[in-house]
Subunit: 137 residues, 2 copies
Amino acid sequence: MVEPLDPQMFDPVCPSSAMPIRIGDKWTAMVVLCLEGGRRRFNELRGPLRGITPKVLTQTLRAMERDGLVTRTAYDENPPRVEYELTALGRSLLTLIAAARAWSREHLPALFEARDAHDSSPGPSALRIAETGEVIR
Amino acid sequence: MVEPLDPQMFDPVCPSSAMPIRIGDKWTAMVVLCLEGGRRRFNELRGPLRGITPKVLTQTLRAMERDGLVTRTAYDENPPRVEYELTALGRSLLTLIAAARAWSREHLPALFEARDAHDSSPGPSALRIAETGEVIR
DNA sequence: GATACTGGTTACCTCAAAGATACTGGGATA
DNA sequence: TATCCCAGTATCTTTGAGGTAACCAGTATC
């Protein structure tokens, strides 16, 4: 069997939403990474994907199954058991995900730096904010 | 000066929305590609990005400027002139975009094939349920 | 005057994704 | 009899991306 998934494998502090690369839906890339080491069960995936609701995980997996990225195998047991596994097509995304992560490691700090510099610049943006009365928390 | 942009450079029939990779917002990757050959003016970008509204192009360019992907240069002329240009950080996305396009060229047909097969499959779940104890590939 | 040009801004609307919360079935277990 | 477990469903609400249309300032043209 495969090793259990590390519940800490995705750092919630890491603002992946700020990463300008997305594979599929919000959770698709993380599901692919979870399945990299072998087949996994539904509730096994819910550990590392902290905060995902069963509904959204179901939606994500169904969409991935439809696109041929994962296979779903349901065993007629009790309690029920369902396993998900990457297809060759799903595995082909791993290199792309690795490229995106490499880009992030190399360039994301510069992006945040630019963002911070922009947000704290005394330029016309401050004026525009003052004019609109927009509140920034 | 640079050559004019080809208004056909993005095929509207190409379902890029189906491509499971996204760089930044919906238009970010296309803007990067438009700026690959040199600086461009606002309305120059609106040609290839068929269907983009000025509001969304403004939002996209502002966000990219904030993230240090493009520079915005406004000339105090009449009529006004504004030019956008890729930064080194923005250019660093080109390799990632190339990787995503390579993946799509290679694997997107298989994805669509899987999707079509799934959508026109006869039985919903009966075939996908494994027999008890049976080893599934 | 009236209109057009450029590079936008603003208000308003729509729609789908995401999330919160609760509930299901049916055998196994206490 | 009651409860637990897994793999989901069902329903509602929120969020936010994206789109439509109107408007702006300053100059130049008709």
